[in-house]
């Protein structure tokens, strides 16, 4: 069964450093998403991406964040200058279309020191 994969599973970085989180969505999916879950809190939407552009973003997704689909298979989330409060589990998700459920990857745990 196809699944969304994410790398790395855990990333530790120093405050102010740039990080890139990587995702490989399911191959025939057209819509891609990033969510985050701060420890003990609910899952929060960051951004959605379709047809090589951002279709929707939340207020969390400020200028420090960017997304890219560089090669037709990977979908990346970049945080330019990490802050302590960026520490969270980041989930990538994808789906085929508006009527379809989103499939989530296993997540990347980001720890900012």
């Amino acid at each position: 069964e196809p699944e969304v994969t994410q790398t790395p599973s855990h990333q530790v970085t120093q405050m102010g450093q740039e990080v890139i989180l990587r995702c490989v969505p399911i191959s025939n999916h057209l819509y891609f998403y990033w969510y985050r879950q701060i420890l003990g809190q609910k899952v929060e939407f960051l951004v959605s991406f379709y047809n090589n552009e951002i279709s929707e973003k939340s207020e969390i997704f400020d200028d420090q964040f960017s997304v890219e689909r560089p090669d037709g298979s990977n979908f990346t989330l970049k945080i330019r200058s990490t802050k302590l409060e960026d520490s969270a589990m980041y989930f990538c998700a994808s789906n085929r279309g508006q009527y379809n459920e989103q499939f989530f990857g296993p997540g990347t745990r980001l720890t900012v020191l």
Binding site: K42, V43, E44, F45, F91, G97, Q98, Y99, E101, F104
Partner: protein, 115 residues
């Protein structure tokens, strides 16, 4: 604005008993409703969804959910709980008729099934 409420932080049930995890929603248009389950240190797994049609939706692992438009609810149910059902359950909503729309999640309900 869209929102989801899961009024219970935790639900405790004995194995073999029926379980209900509650969810209410608020959305301006037609709701698309979802339930996901999260096991420790794992991602979110899709259980079931309501888009349109029958109000009773059947999903994975014997779970079902009932859409009630007048009460704006989408409670998750299972006739006979298993210890292995113990996990964190999230209800989510999105507005229909728009592609690539974000899911809005509730805060989650921890289900604990005792043997």
């Amino acid at each position: 604005a869209q929102s989801v409420a899961q009024p219970e932080d935790q639900v405790n049930v004995a194995e073999g008993n029926p379980l209900t995890v509650k969810c209410t929603y608020s959305v301006s248009g037609n709701p698309y409703l979802f339930w996901y389950v999260q096991y420790p240190n794992r991602g979110l797994q899709f259980l079931l969804k309501y888009i349109t049609g029958d109000n009773l939706v059947k999903g994975s692992y014997g779970f079902e959910a009932e859409f009630n438009k007048s009460q704006t609810s989408f409670h998750l149910k299972k006739p006979s709980a298993l210890v292995s059902d113990s996990a964190l359950y999230f209800c989510a909503v999105r507005e229909g008729n728009q592609a690539g729309t974000a899911l809005i999640f509730g805060k989650g309900t921890t289900l604990s099934v005792s043997s």
